[in-house]
């Protein structure tokens, strides 16, 4: 199994009720597999994704949905930024 950390930002925090989620996923799990699993576990995530373009970063970088997760990865889910004014 691969141990990863999921970081939720902005309104995504309310999907799970906290900032972080620690998960173990099977070897070979892709980013797409992970998002699908999160949608399955948290149905409000799917509703949010219908209305807002979700940004997914792995260790702060954009990755393709085919990216295979490795031990220690931090996957961050966030809406488009709202910084500035």
């Amino acid at each position: 199994m691969v141990k990863i950390k999921i970081k939720m930002l902005s309104l995504l925090k309310d999907v799970i009720g906290r900032d972080y989620l620690d998960m173990e996923v099977p070897f070979g799990t892709t980013l797409k597999d992970l998002i699908d699993k999160l949608i399955y576990n948290y149905n409000t995530l799917a509703k949010i994704m219908e209305k807002i373009e979700l940004i997914v970063l792995v260790n702060g970088e954009k990755r393709s949905m085919d990216y295979k997760l490795v031990d220690g990865d931090e996957v961050a889910l966030m809406p488009p930024a709202s910084g500035g004014l």
């Binding site: 902005s10 999907v15 948290y42 500035g84 004014l85």
Partner: protein, 156 residues
């Protein structure tokens, strides 16, 4: 060249920064300084705003902010760029972001300050929650507001 990019909780001394930048830039051929300060609105959609709560995805937010400032500072005619983005709870009328640009001409300074602002707003993972008299709203992207409902899985 003077470059600085910071994510901070407090405020900065605007007068001090302007004075220092003008002094430092003038000997390097600078003759224009543009400063921009974004501040919290006290009213949105006819509702009173109590405060904004800014959060940054660190350390990546700072990394991206530095990347933008370095890229923009490398353009011809730019002498210095300083950007400070505040996080935490900020009340109406209080500053949220400061941008200072000095350049060899006003056009370059204005254009660069504007471009830096737009890039920060769209590229740096900083998010805000708007607390107002009719509830709490997550502000996402270009001003879209999503009402917050407390409790696990209760968004929207």
């Amino acid at each position: 060249m003077v470059i600085e990019a910071k994510i901070i909780e407090g405020k900065v001394d605007v007068n001090k920064i302007v004075k220092e930048l003008m002094e430092e830039s003038s000997s390097l051929g600078g003759g224009a300084l543009v400063s921009f300060i974004g501040f919290v609105k006290g009213k949105v959609n006819e509702h009173i705003v109590k405060e904004l709560v800014y959060e940054a995805y660190m350390p990546y937010a700072l990394k991206k902010l530095e990347e933008i400032v370095y890229e923009e500072a490398s353009r011809t005619g730019i002498i210095s760029i300083k950007v400070y983005h505040r996080i935490g709870r900020i009340e109406p009328g209080e500053p949220t972001i400061y941008i200072f640009v000095t350049a060899i001409s006003r056009k370059i300074a204005f254009d660069t300050a504007s471009r830096v602002l737009e890039r920060v707003k769209h590229e740096v993972p900083i998010f805000k929650l708007e607390r107002r008299d009719d509830g709490e709203y997550w502000v996402v992207g270009d001003g879209k507001r999503v009402k917050r409902v407390r409790g696990k899985g209760k968004v929207m």
